[in-house]
C-alpha cells in the first residue's frame, strides 16, 4: 500500500547522539526571530530599541495569528537583520540582545481547563508543528476527532530529539497527550514509535491504558509520514488533511509544548534540537531558546572536527535537511535537527537519466518525478497540475535512489513551489 524502504547508508546515524543525555544552552548572546516562516509572514509588533521581556509577543503571523514570543529579555537591536533559516533562504529577523535578566511575566501555575480553554492556550502559546512541517497546531484542534496519533517515529536519519524527549520527559508527554485528547474529545491516542526502540517502549508501557496505546512501526523511511500513520492505526485514507477522517497527528515535541502551554501557560520559547553529524566533536541534543544561532551552540558543545576539510550543514536530517552555507543559522520552532557532515565524494558527478524508473517506483505518493522534472523545465503549469506535483511530500527518496545522482527532489519541490505561486 504505502511504500517505505530501509535506508542502509550511515547505519550509526542515530547512535552518535542517541545515548547522550541532552544538555541546556539557555543563555544566547542575541536571538533572531524570523518574520517569515512556513509560507507565512509575521507582522512585527515591536520597535527599535524597545525593551522586551521574556515571553512577550514580538510578532504575530498575518493569516493564522500565531504569536511569536521573545525567548529572552533584552533590547530590540534591529527588525530587519537578514539571517539564514531552515527554509534555506535569507529571512528578515527581529534581533534582540539578551540582557541575561530573564525578566518575565510568565506565571507558572497549575491549571485545570475546559476544551476551548485548552485550544485557546495552545494558540496563545504560539505552538506550531515542531516535527518540521510547522502547521499551526490549534487549527488541527478546531474540529473534533476520535483518534490522536503522537508521532514519535523519527524515521529520518540522524534526528534523535524526539527519542530523547520520550526518554527524559515521559510524564510530560503522557500529560500532554491527555490534554490533547481532552481538547479533541478523542477516544484514543496512539504513540507511534519504532519497533527497535526498546528502551522507550519499556518506559511507555507503564503508562499504557485504554486511552493511550502504542503503535509500533518498522525501522523504515518514511514511516513518520502522517498518511502512513493514520492508515496504519485506523486503516483510513484521506484526501488532504487527516482531520477529514477524524485523526490528528502531532509530533512528540508539540505534545510536550502543549503540556507546558496548557498546564503552566508557558509559551513556546524553547525546544530540543539535535546537533549531530560526523563533523562534530560531540553530537548531542541541546535544549535551546528559539532564536539562538547555531554557531553559539556549536561552540558551546565543543566545536567541529578539523579532520574534514569540506563540510555540509543541513537544517534537518539527512533526507529532508536543506543545505545552509553558513552556521549563523537561526533555531526556529520547527527546526528539529542540524546535521553537519563531510562533503560526499563526487557528489556533483551527474550522469544522464537512464530511465530505470526507480524514482517512480519508490515514490510514496505515487508521483513520477522524471515527468515532473521534464514539465517543470518546460514551465508547463497544466501538465504539472495533471501530474499532481503538489502531492510531493519532499521526502527525498527519488533523489536518494537515483543511480545517476539527478536532483529529482529539488525539481519536484521547485515544481510544487511554482504551482503554489500561481
Amino acid at each position: 500500500m504505502f511504500k517505505n524502504i530501509k535506508i542502509c547508508e550511515y547505519k550509526d546515524n542515530k547512535k552518535i547522539s542517541n545515548d547522550v543525555k541532552s544538555i541546556d544552552y539557555l543563555n544566547p548572546k542575541n536571538i533572531y526571530l524570523p518574520l517569515f516562516d512556513h509560507n507565512e509572514s509575521y507582522e512585527c509588533l515591536v520597535n527599535l530599541d524597545q525593551k522586551v521581556i521574556k515571553g512577550e509577543i514580538v510578532a504575530v503571523s498575518t493569516k493564522t495569528k500565531i504569536p511569536l514570543h521573545s525567548s529572552v529579555s533584552g533590547i530590540v537591536k534591529s527588525i530587519n537583520t537578514k539571517m539564514w533559516t531552515k527554509i534555506g533562504k535569507l529571512v528578515e529577523c527581529i534581533e534582540i540582545e539578551n540582557d541575561y535578566q530573564e525578566t518575565t511575566n510568565i506565571i507558572l501555575e497549575n491549571r485545570q481547563l475546559t476544551n476551548d480553554e485548552i485550544i485557546k492556550s495552545i494558540q496563545e502559546a504560539g505552538i506550531i508543528g515542531m516535527g518540521g512541517a510547522g502547521f499551526p497546531t490549534y487549527i488541527k484542534y478546531q474540529k473534533e476527532a476520535d483518534i490522536l496519533i503522537v508521532n514519535g517515529c523519527e524515521c529520518e536519519p540522524f534526528i534523535t530529539c524526539d527519542y530523547r524527549l520520550m526518554l527524559e520527559q515521559t510524564i510530560k508527554l503522557i500529560n500532554g497527550t491527555h490534554y490533547a485528547l481532552k481538547a479533541l474529545n478523542a477516544s484514543v491516542a496512539y504513540i507511534a514509535i519504532k519497533k527497535h526502540n526498546h528502551e522507550v517502549i519499556d518506559i511507555l508501557n507503564k503508562y499504557i491504558d485504554d486511552k493511550i496505546k502504542l503503535l509500533l512501526v518498522n525501522n523504515k523511511y518514511p514511516v513518520g509520514w502522517e498518511r502512513y500513520l493514520v492508515y496504519k492505526a485506523t486503516k483510513r485514507k484521506y484526501k488532504n488533511i487527516p482531520i477529514e477522517v477524524g485523526c490528528v497527528v502531532n509530533n512528540v515535541s508539540t505534545i510536550i509544548a502543549i503540556n507546558e502551554a496548557v498546564r503552566y501557560r508557558q509559551p513556546l520559547i524553547e525546544r530540543l534540537v539535535t546537533i549531530t553529524g560526523y563533523c562534530l566533536e560531540n553530537p548531542i541534543n541541546v535544549r535551546c531558546k528559539i532564536g539562538t544561532t547555531l554557531d553559539e551552540i556549536i561552540n558551546y558543545i565543543g566545536g567541529l572536527k578539523h579532520k574534514y576539510h569540506k563540510k555540509v550543514l543541513m537544517a534537518g536530517g539527512g533526507m529532508t535537511g536543506k543545505s545552509i552555507p553558513v552556521d549563523e543559522l537561526v533555531i526556529t520552532k520547527s527546526l528539529n535537527c542540524v546535521t553537519i557532515m563531510p562533503l560526499p565524494k563526487e557528489y556533483n558527478k551527474l550522469s544522464n537519466c537512464i530511465g530505470c524508473g526507480r524514482c517512480a517506483y519508490i515514490c510514496p505518493t505515487k508521483l513520477t518525478p522524471t515527468e515532473i522534472k521534464k514539465y517543470y523545465q518546460l514551465k508547463d503549469k497544466e501538465e504539472l497540475n495533471n501530474l499532481k506535483s503538489n502531492r510531493c511530500i519532499e521526502c527525498g527518496l527519488c533523489s536518494y535512489i537515483c543511480p545517476s545522482k539527478i536532483d529529482l527532489t529539488f525539481f519536484t519541490t521547485k515544481a510544487k513551489e511554482f504551482l503554489k505561486r500561481g
Binding site: 535506508i7 542502509c8 547508508e9 550511515y10 536519519p157 484526501k239 554557531d295 567541529l304 569540506k310 563540510k311 555540509v312 550543514l313 543541513m314 534537518g316 539527512g318 533526507m319 529532508t320 535537511g321 536543506k322 543545505s323 545552509i324 552555507p325 553558513v326 552556521d327 553537519i340 557532515m341 562533503l343 560526499p344 557528489y347 556533483n348 550522469s351 544522464n352 537519466c353 537512464i354 530511465g355 530505470c356 524508473g357 524514482c359 517512480a360 517506483y361 505515487k366 508521483l367 513520477t368 522524471t370 515527468e371 495533471n386 501530474l387 499532481k388 502531492r391 527525498g396 533523489s399 536518494y400 535512489i401 537515483c402 543511480p403 545517476s404 545522482k405 536532483d407 527532489t409 529539488f410
Partner: protein
C-alpha cells in the same frame, strides 16, 4: 570570528550512490555480465559443436570473434565520433567518453541478435548505423529514443537481407521452427506434427535451437533473467508482463482457431526472439517508459503486438519491430502512465484503463478473424466412409522399363485397393469399375499425398529411384531422389561388390531459392551419415532437407535389397 563556510548541496544528503556498488555504471556492467550465459551457450552450440563436426579451427572461434568484433566496432566508432565532433570538454579523452556512454553494449547486442553467418562488413554497417544514427545524433547515452541495437538490426536486415540469408555457412537451409509456423496457420499441418518436427516440446522449451545466439537457449536466458532480477538491473515487471501477455493471447487465439492452445502458445513463446527481446531489449531503460504504470502498459502492448506481427506479417519474428515501434510510443505511454497513477477518481482511472483493454480486444479479435479467413478449410470426409492410405511403394518392375511408377495401397471401408500412379499423381490403373464416390476419395487422397509435391504430409519426403544403369564391369549406378523443403535432393550411388558408395549428393536445387550460394562444410560421406538421421544436423535439428536425404538414401537401400538381397551394411 572566522566564518565557517559550508558547501551547498541539493537535498537529500544521503544518497544510495554513496555506496560504490550502486550507480549507473554498476547497472550497465551488470547488464553486460547478464549477457554472458547466452554468449557462452551460443559459443558452445555454434562454435564447439561445429568444430567437433568438421574440425575447422576457425569455426571454433568464429562466434567469439563475432561478438568481440561487435563490441569493438561500436566502441571505436564512438571514439572516432567524439574525437571528430565533440569538442565540449577537451580534458576528457575520447576513449573515456566512449566508455562513459557504455558504447560497447549496442555492439554486443547486435552480434548476439544477428545471424552468425552475417559477413563482418555487414556487422560493421549495423554497428555504424546503431551508434551514429540511433544514438549519437540524438545526443548520446541517455537521450536516444530508439534502442540502438535494434535500429542497426532492422536496418541491415532490411537492406542486406539477401546477403545475410544467402550466406549461410551451414549446408542446410534449415527452416527454423518459426518459419514452419506459416504452414501451421495457412496450411493444414497440425501443431503436434510441428512440435514433433522440432524435436518435442521439451526440446522446444529448453533445448538448443537453431537460430542466432540470442535464440539458442531458453535456459541461459532464464539464468540471465534471474541475475538481472537479483541485481535489480531491470524491472522484473516488464519481462513477466510481456511473457504473460504473449502466452495468454496466443492461448486465446489458439482456442478460437481450434488448435491445441498449450502447445501453440508454448511453441510460440519458446521460439524466436520474444524471450530475448522481453529480457534484454524491452527492459532497456533509456528507451522504455519510466513511470510505474507506463512500464506495465508498455510491456503489455509489446507482448500483444509482437504476437500480432508474428502471426500476421511476413517478418519471421516481429519482436524487434514491435519494440522499436513501442520505443516510439514510450514518451506518450510514460505520460499516460504517470497521470493514470495519480488519478484520484476511480471512474477516470477506469476510463483510461478501458482504452488499453479496447486496444487489446481489437487487436486480438482482428488476429483471430484474419487468420481464420486465411486458413484453408479442411474438408471433413463423409463419416460413413473410412478412407486410409496405408503405404506407397515404388514399382521396381516398371523401373526396369525405365518407367517411374508408384503403387498406393488405399483402404476404403475394409476394402483394399492398389492404385498405380506416375510421379505427378496421375492415375494409371483402371478405376472405372469403382463407384463415383470412391473414385473421388481416391483421387483426393492421392492428390494430397502425391510424391514430389511440397506439402506437409508424411509422404512428402518419399524417396524413390530415378534411374539405374548397369556398367560393363558389374557396377550399378543408382540415382535416387526425394522432395526436400524447396526442391529435390538427389543422391547418386554406386553398388559394386556388395558395397554402396555415394558418388554425388546434389543439393543445388534444394538451396536454389536461397541464392544458390552454398558453402558446403561436409563431405559427401558425411551427408549420407547425416541422412541416417542420427546426428541429424550440424547446426539445426531435424530439417526437411535432412529428412529428404534420409528418404533418398533409404530408397537406394530398398532397391538394393530388392535387387540383390541386401548389402553387407
Amino acid at each position: 570570528m572566522i566564518k565557517k563556510k559550508y558547501e551547498i548541496i541539493k537535498e537529500p544528503y544521503i544518497r544510495k550512490t554513496s555506496n560504490k556498488y550502486y550507480g549507473t555504471k554498476n547497472i550497465m556492467i551488470d547488464f553486460i555480465i547478464a549477457l554472458l550465459p547466452i554468449i557462452l551457450v551460443g559459443i558452445y552450440k555454434n562454435g564447439v559443436e561445429v568444430y567437433i563436426k568438421n574440425d575447422n579451427f576457425y569455426s571454433l572461434i568464429h562466434p567469439l570473434i563475432f561478438i568481440i568484433l561487435g563490441g569493438l566496432f561500436t566502441f571505436s566508432i564512438e571514439c572516432v565520433y567524439y574525437l571528430l565532433f565533440d569538442k565540449s570538454s577537451v580534458e576528457i579523452s575520447c576513449i573515456k567518453k566512449s566508455l562513459n556512454s557504455y558504447s560497447i553494449i549496442p555492439g554486443l547486442l547486435l552480434s548476439i541478435i544477428l545471424p552468425l553467418h552475417t559477413p563482418i562488413w555487414i556487422l560493421f554497417i549495423a554497428c555504424l548505423f546503431a551508434t551514429v544514427i540511433a544514438k549519437l545524433i540524438y545526443g548520446g547515452f541517455g537521450n536516444n529514443i530508439f534502442n540502438p541495437a535494434l535500429v542497426g538490426y532492422i536496418f541491415v536486415m532490411t537492406a542486406f537481407y539477401g546477403v545475410i540469408d544467402g550466406n549461410k555457412s551451414d549446408i542446410f537451409s534449415a527452416p527454423t521452427p518459426l518459419s514452419s509456423l506459416n504452414n501451421l496457420l495457412f496450411h493444414n499441418i497440425t501443431i503436434e506434427e510441428l512440435i514433433e518436427n522440432s524435436g518435442g516440446l521439451l526440446n522446444i522449451c529448453f533445448g538448443l535451437k537453431s537460430g542466432t545466439i540470442a535464440e539458442t537457449s531458453t535456459l541461459a536466458l532464464l539464468f540471465s533473467l534471474i541475475f538481472l532480477y537479483v541485481k535489480r538491473v531491470i524491472d522484473i515487471k516488464t519481462p513477466i508482463i510481456i511473457i504473460v501477455t504473449f502466452f495468454f493471447t496466443a492461448f486465446i487465439v489458439a482456442l478460437f482457431l481450434k488448435i491445441n492452445p498449450f502447445y501453440f502458445s508454448l511453441f510460440n513463446l519458446f521460439n524466436g526472439g520474444i524471450l530475448f527481446g522481453a529480457i534484454f531489449m524491452a527492459t532497456e531503460p533509456v528507451t522504455s517508459p519510466r513511470s510505474y504504470y507506463g512500464k506495465i502498459i508498455y510491456a503489455f502492448l509489446i507482448g500483444l503486438i509482437s504476437l500480432f506481427l508474428r502471426l500476421l506479417s511476413d517478418l519471421r519474428d516481429g519482436t524487434s519491430t514491435t519494440i522499436l515501434f513501442m520505443n516510439m510510443l514510450s514518451l506518450i505511454i510514460d505520460n499516460f502512465g504517470a497521470k493514470l497513477r495519480v488519478e484520484e477518481l476511480f471512474i477516470n482511472k477506469l476510463k483510461k484503463i478501458s482504452i488499453i483493454v479496447l486496444i487489446y480486444l481489437f487487436i486480438t479479435s482482428y488476429m483471430i478473424i484474419k487468420i481464420n479467413s486465411y486458413k484453408v478449410p479442411i474438408e471433413k470426409p463423409n463419416e460413413d466412409i473410412n478412407i486410409e492410405l496405408i503405404n506407397i511403394n515404388q514399382s521396381y518392375e516398371k523401373l526396369k522399363e525405365n518407367i517411374i511408377e508408384f503403387n498406393y495401397k488405399i483402404k476404403i471401408n475394409n476394402e483394399q485397393f492398389i492404385i498405380s500412379t506416375d510421379i505427378d499423381g496421375n492415375i494409371k490403373s483402371n478405376i472405372n469399375d469403382l463407384s463415383e464416390e470412391y473414385k473421388e476419395y481416391i483421387i483426393e487422397i492421392i492428390q494430397k499425398n502425391k510424391i514430389n509435391k511440397r506439402s506437409n504430409s508424411k509422404n512428402n519426403h518419399y524417396g524413390f529411384i530415378v534411374s539405374t544403369t548397369l556398367n560393363d564391369d558389374g557396377e550399378e549406378i543408382i540415382t535416387s531422389q526425394a522432395r526436400g523443403y524447396v526442391n529435390n535432393v538427389i543422391i547418386v550411388a554406386k553398388y559394386f561388390n556388395n558395397k554402396v558408395e555415394v558418388i554425388e549428393v546434389d543439393l543445388s536445387k534444394e538451396t536454389e531459392l536461397n541464392g544458390g550460394l552454398i558453402n558446403s562444410t561436409g563431405t559427401k560421406n558425411d551427408l549420407i551419415n547425416i541422412g541416417k538421421g542420427e546426428n541429424s544436423d550440424i547446426v539445426s535439428n531435424v530439417t526437411y532437407t535432412s529428412v529428404s536425404l534420409f528418404s533418398a538414401r533409404k530408397a537406394i537401400y530398398d532397391y538394393i535389397s530388392y535387387q540383390y538381397g541386401g548389402t553387407n551394411e
